[in-house]
């Protein structure tokens, strides 16, 4: 699984990154977490609110910092949909 955190490096993006890593750990999932700070790339995902969470090139959430629990749900839902 490949995970991208979209955001310009503000507080919210850092929190999201940390929580995503925590969520992955709790789920015992293995994934590369990558930060995308370039606005052109961020826009190419079509989001208008940062931070954004992208799993395998699919935007699963934007404009909020979900709890670790919620991120776990999103990750599991994504895995289930494959």
């Amino acid at each position: 699984m490949n995970i991208k955190i979209l955001g310009s490096g503000c507080m919210n993006c850092k929190t999201l990154e940390k929580r995503t890593i925590d969520a992955l750990q709790e789920l015992n999932m293995d994934a590369a977490v990558e930060k995308v700070e370039d606005y052109q790339k961020i826009a190419s995902y079509g989001i208008m609110r940062t931070p954004g969470l992208v799993v395998d090139e699919k935007v699963v959430m934007s404009g909020a910092v979900p709890t670790v629990e919620k991120i776990k749900e999103l990750l599991l839902a994504h895995q289930g949909s494959k």
């Binding site: 503000c10 606005y39 190419s44 995902y45 079509g46 989001i47 609110r49 934007s62």
Partner: protein, 341 residues
């Protein structure tokens, strides 16, 4: 608490709302008894500053909680995606009016200014309309309105909101007719924004209430400390600074006070929570409303960090035009108020 809201949303509100009202109406007696208990003798500078503090802090925090909760629910009905859809294809003027109004209710954080700008421009929303949104969104925010309402009364809050809206509409319109598109960084127009198929899930009312609770948690935990500090400084001014101290400096007769207030305000970046209580105390000491209003708008509406962020997508002439037009608008508003009151 969040659990209650999730399980019994309406019941929890029905229980907390009367409690809120009860607390709110008993603020004065509570403050008075706290002053009494401390044994401070009435009438001294210290006592009056202290009384001001123990009354204003809980009052503003109570108001803030309620309003942020309500605004959190209202905002759950709006999203930048939906706003973009509404604004798409709108001409100047109508677009400016709509964009300014939507700027107030659409969830916005200045850290998202760029993705939002790109999203708007990419979908063909005119530059001037986009600016109306970007001016209104930070200038008219719930924290500022709560503080204005709590410390100055509803008239000032309403004045701030309506003049703020007018500035956003008119400034955006002017930017639109000046045709400044050539001062947008060229790469902006090359952005091929992907189309998000995040289906906008229909939220249950329960979930909207829950976003209200989230908003309270997020905003109140962030700004309470500034409110306390701001009111403490305000209390100090209230108790110690002599009456009419500010009259010569920020009074009506000092014509230069409005532009100076704006010049000082623009580079200052304080959140509304810290600045408004201080400004309120200054008003009490003889500063005039127009000057004070202009100062607040400049601090809240035009901030240096946001302008620096915008530098990534705008060339300098456009940034100067944007700051200049809004600043002139604020100065005019300041003079009008000084003249009317």
């Amino acid at each position: 608490m969040k659990k209650w809201f999730e399980q019994y949303p309406l019941g929890t509100i029905a229980f907390l709302l009367p409690l809120w009202v009860l607390l709110y109406v008993s603020l004065q007696p509570i403050a008075d008894s706290i002053v009494l208990v401390t044994g401070l003798s009435p009438g001294t500078h210290l006592t009056e500053a202290f009384r001001f503090f123990v009354f204003e802090v809980p009052k503003v925090l109570l108001l803030l909680t309620l309003i942020v909760f309500a605004v959190g629910i209202i905002r759950s009905y709006f999203s930048p995606e939906r706003t973009r859809k509404i604004l798409g294809g709108k001409k100047l003027f109508v677009g400016n009016v709509l964009a300014s109004l939507l700027g107030v209710v659409t969830p916005f954080c200045s850290c998202s200014a760029i993705p939002l700008f790109l999203g708007f421009v990419e979908s063909g929303i005119p530059l001037g309309v986009t600016f109306s949104f970007l001016i209104a969104a930070p200038m008219i925010n719930e924290v500022a309105l709560v503080l204005l309402f709590g410390l100055f009364g509803w008239k000032t809050a309403l004045l701030y909101m309506s003049t703020g809206l007018i500035i956003a509409m008119v400034s955006g319109y002017i930017i639109g007719i000046l045709k400044l598109e050539r001062f947008v960084e060229p790469w902006v127009y090359e952005v091929k924004a992907g189309h998000l198929d995040l289906q906008e899930e229909k939220l249950l009312f329960k979930q909207r209430i829950s976003s209200g609770v989230d908003a309270v948690n997020e905003i109140v935990s962030k700004v309470w400390i500034y409110i306390v500090i701001g009111i403490a400084v305000g209390a100090g001014i209230h108790g110690y600074v002599p009456e009419n101290f500010m009259a010569s400096l920020m009074g009506k007769s000092a014509w230069w006070s409005v532009p100076i207030a704006v010049l000082i305000g623009v580079p200052m970046y304080s959140n509304a929570a810290g600045i408004i209580p201080i400004v309120q105390a200054l008003l009490e000491k003889g500063a005039s409303l127009g000057t004070v209003l202009a100062f607040m708008m400049a601090v809240i509406g035009l901030s240096l960090p946001e302008t620096i962020i915008l530098k990534k997508v705008l060339k300098l002439p456009l940034i100067f035009a944007f700051v200049g037009i809004v600043a002139v608008g604020i100065i005019i508003v300041g003079y009008i108020f000084n003249f009317v009151y």
